[in-house]
Structure formats: C-alpha cells, structure tokens
C-alpha cells in the first residue's frame, strides 16, 4: 500500500482582495514530492462586486480549482463543503484553511507526518504566530513574518527541531487544520448552529475528544496567520469583539467542563515551555546560519534590526539578563546566578555557534569590560555616556 497521501487543501474565502491572492499563490508552492495535493478555493459568495470573477480568473490561471457557492453559507457550511468534497472524492486527508495565511512549502509533508504519529489523532492544527492560546509569541508579526521566504524558513527550522512531534490541545483552530478522512466520517461535520462562524471548530474538536480521539498541535510546521481583519468588516464580529458571545454560550451549554479545562491547560499544559522551545529553536538557528551581533545596554528599547539575530545583554550581566531576538521572536538564554563573565561568554558562543559578528556597546556596567574580554572583542572606541538616568 502506498504511503503517498492524497490531500485536499480547502481554502475558504469571503472577500479579502488584499490577501487572498498571496494565500493561493502560497498554496501552489507546497511541495508535492511525497504526497498529492489539490487546492480547492471555496468562495462563500463574496459580496464585493467583481471579486468572485477576478478570483475565479486567478484560480484558473494558477491551475487551482475554484467554487463559488450560489448563496452565502457561512463559515461552518462552507467548511463542510470542503469536508464533503474530500470524502466524496477519495482524499485521505483534508486541510481546512483561512485565506489570510501564508503556507510553508513543507506544509503537507509536516502535517501528514504529524497525523501519522498516532492513529487516534483526529485533527492537527498548524503552529503559528496567531493561533489562539497556542500562538508562538512574537512582536509585530505582520511586519516581520508576512513573507513567503520567512514562512518557509520558520517552518523548516521548526521541523528540523521538532519533526512530527505533536502536543494535545483542548480544541483545534480552523485557520489551518488537517483532518484525516476517517475522522470526517466518525466525528461528522461542522454544526450549522454556529451560523456565520466562530466556535464551530471548538465544538467539532470537543466532539472528537468525547469519542476518544486526539486533538493536537503540530510543532514541526509554521503557518503565518494575519488575523481577523476581514471578519469584523464582514459583520461576523461586533466591533472590538474577538468572538461571538451567543456561540460561546452554546459551547458552555454543551461542554460545561470546557472553560475550566482550558484554564488548567494554560497554567499546567506546558505551553510556556513549548513556546520557549520554539523561540529558542528559531533564534538559535538564525544566529548559526546568519551570524549574530551583541547589544550591551540597560534599555531594551534600543531596537536591533529585526532581521539580524541579536543577543541583548544587560551590562550588569545578571542572571536571566541575556536574550536573543530575531524577527520579533525573543529567546531567553540560559544563565545562572553566580555565572562569571567567562561562563556568560561561553553560553553566548554555544548559542550562536561561534563568535559574534559585531558588538554594539550602548552602556557600560560593572561587568562589561570583562564580558567583552571573555567574548574576545574590543570595545568600540567611541566615548559615550549612560543612556539610563
């Protein structure tokens, strides 16, 4: 029997002229060496005049299947079309995705592998900058991460570090979620009671868990997700809201244990550790591939260039005072009380895979000179005075 999966990538669309084309182009770049991938764009009868026609033309030009439903269905029912198509047409897996995303080239390889990690896995959600409580923390992702080359690199880096590893979650997120075909039959479709959208994937996830299946997050794949801009303008959300209260009440009624479980998960589920592992993997890989510079200053507001891996050091070089920043991600470097300057220098060398390419000395502290000596760099010659009062 072939290990080659047949995957349907169903991208749901409702307006979004500013970002949908990038998402579709991104989908056409997905690596198909190991698995068959077909892309289906499901236009939910977008109301913007001329947009559906333009989108249909773009899809035809890119060789992507396009379907515009004759009446607006709402997100749950539009997603169901993708699930039904996957089932009817013999796909082994379906990915349901938003259209305000950028997919990495390794998307399908990574998510199929994650699904295969355990035959009880009914869903795998991609890791991202914007995936609810699972989000890898980063500053200004729209500016730093909304680029195809960076998404590809981030996903490859996380895959190198984590492979097909998944962690369990109380609910998946349908911005980019893979569901094996057997799970559609066993768990069912999204419930149309959730109207135009929000909370339907939480409901589906909880149903799958009640049946004894697993709901997981894939650590070895990164999908960029811009966020909810189109939903507010489309009227799915009240201005300033992040969810639909009436749908949350349905979730509370059906799954009274859910909120408490999420609360316990956030505190005890290891999310903070996993986020730290991810940012460390990203910053370490970047420092080793691109080289890194060191900034020595009390004020963290001195902004290093985001696309240059930068180790930021407190001039007093106290414990927990060193971090590495790259593309808005921040990784804390391990330090310990009692570390001497040579120890700190050794940690920086180990993290960055060698000597720094440059040192920006913004302020001097009690340990600065010794630290610079240990790092094997000479202080910049320009005299200055303390930035901090």
């Amino acid at each position: 029997m072939s290990d080659r999966a047949r995957v349907l990538l169903a991208i749901t669309v409702y307006n979004g002229r500013d970002f949908v084309p990038d998402a579709i182009r991104s989908a056409t770049r997905i690596d198909t060496s190991n698995h068959d991938v077909d892309v289906l764009v499901l236009d939910d009868h977008s109301p913007e005049p001329g947009w559906s026609e333009d989108l249909g033309s773009l899809c035809a030009k890119l060789g992507v299947r396009y379907y515009c439903t004759p009446r607006n269905l709402g997100i749950p029912r539009n997603v169901n079309l993708g699930l039904l198509a996957a089932q009817a047409e013999g796909y082994s897996h379906v990915i349901i995705a938003n259209s305000d995303v950028l997919f990495p080239a390794n998307l399908v390889d990574a998510m199929v592998a994650a699904c295969a990690a355990d035959d009880r896995i009914a869903s795998v959600t991609a890791w991202s900058n914007n995936s609810s409580i699972y989000s890898i923390p980063s500053d200004d992702p729209v500016t730093h991460l909304g680029r195809q080359d960076r998404v590809d690199w981030l996903s490859t880096t996380l895959n190198d570090r984590f492979g097909a590893t998944v962690f369990d979650a109380p609910a998946g997120i349908s911005f980019c979620i893979m569901i094996p075909a057997w799970a559609i039959a066993q768990v069912g479709l999204m419930d149309p009671v959730f109207g135009r959208g929000y909370c339907e994937e939480t409901d589906w996830s909880r149903r799958s868990l009640k049946l004894g299946f697993r709901c997981t997050i894939a650590q070895g794949v990164f999908v960029y997700h811009a966020g909810k801009g189109s939903n507010e303008s489309a009227g799915l959300l009240r201005p300033g809201a992040t969810t639909v209260d009436e749908h949350e009440l349905i979730i509370d009624m059906r799954y009274p244990e859910f909120r408490e479980e999420v609360g316990r998960y956030v505190v005890n589920g290891g999310l903070e550790r996993r986020h730290a592992e991810a940012t460390t993997a990203i910053c370490r890989a970047a420092a080793r591939e691109l080289g890194y510079s060191i900034e020595v200053g009390y004020l963290t507001g001195s902004t290093p260039k985001p696309d240059v891996p930068t180790v930021v050091v407190d001039p007093a070089a106290t414990a927990s005072a060193m971090s590495c920043q790259y593309l808005g991600f921040t990784a804390e470097l391990d330090t310990a009380d009692g570390d001497e300057e040579a120890d700190l220098a050794a940690r920086i060398h180990e993290f960055g895979g060698g000597a720094p390419s440059g040192v920006n000395l913004l302020e001097r502290g009690p340990r600065t000179q010794h630290l610079l000596d240990a790092l094997g760099v000479t202080a910049p010659g320009r005299a200055t005075y303390p930035l901090r009062v």
């Binding site: 009868h45 977008s46 249909g56 379907y67 439903t69 004759p70 009817a88 047409e89």
Partner: protein
C-alpha cells in the same frame, strides 16, 4: 502542483450574484452543496420543532412556579396578619407567661 479536475470548458457570462453555474465550474460540488443544504434544512427544522417543544414545556413550568410563589406569598402574608393580631391582644402577655412556665424558661 498535482493535476486537478477544474473544468477547461469556456466560461459562460458571469451573473451579478456570482452563482457557480455562471462560473461554469463544478457540477459535483453543486450536487454536494445542494444535498447538504437539504440535509441542513431538515436538521434545522427538527431543531426548531424540538426547541419549540422545550420552550413550551419551560413556559408551563414557569407558570406553575409563579403560581406556587404567589400562593406562598399570600399564605405568608395571612400568617403575618394573624400574628400581629395575637400580639396586640390583651391576653397575649398572659399566654406568653404560661408558655414560659411550661417550658421552664425565664423571660
């Protein structure tokens, strides 16, 4: 990208509502869409009937509870008036002393 099944037939003129037929695309998705829409309607209808039944039952329960509450309030009110009349009676202090003597308690 693996080969997909998008129709290569020329598109018909596009209508203002962007219906799939006018895009000349996907008869199989149209069929799935229609079948599921009919199923969704059946389910939605059954849910409406079920919800109507539950609303009606809850409404009956609400009426019964309100009635019981009103009756209890009336009883409490009647009992309160009787107590006030007894306390105002000239015999009340005598009755109170007798009760204390029987119980062995002191005022």
């Amino acid at each position: 990208m693996t080969e997909n099944s998008t129709s290569t037939e020329p598109r018909a003129a596009v209508s203002a509502n962007g219906a799939s037929v006018e895009h000349g695309a996907d008869a199989s998705l149209d069929r799935l869409n229609l079948e599921q829409a009919l199923l969704d309607f059946e389910l939605a209808n059954r849910r409406v009937v079920d919800l109507a039944r539950r609303v009606s039952s809850l409404h009956q329960e609400l009426l019964a509870t309100r009635t019981e509450l009103a009756q209890l309030k009336l009883q409490r009110s009647a009992g309160g008036r009787l107590e006030a009349r007894l306390r105002a009676s000239r015999l009340f202090p005598l009755a109170r002393r007798v009760v204390w003597m029987v119980r062995g308690t002191r005022p």
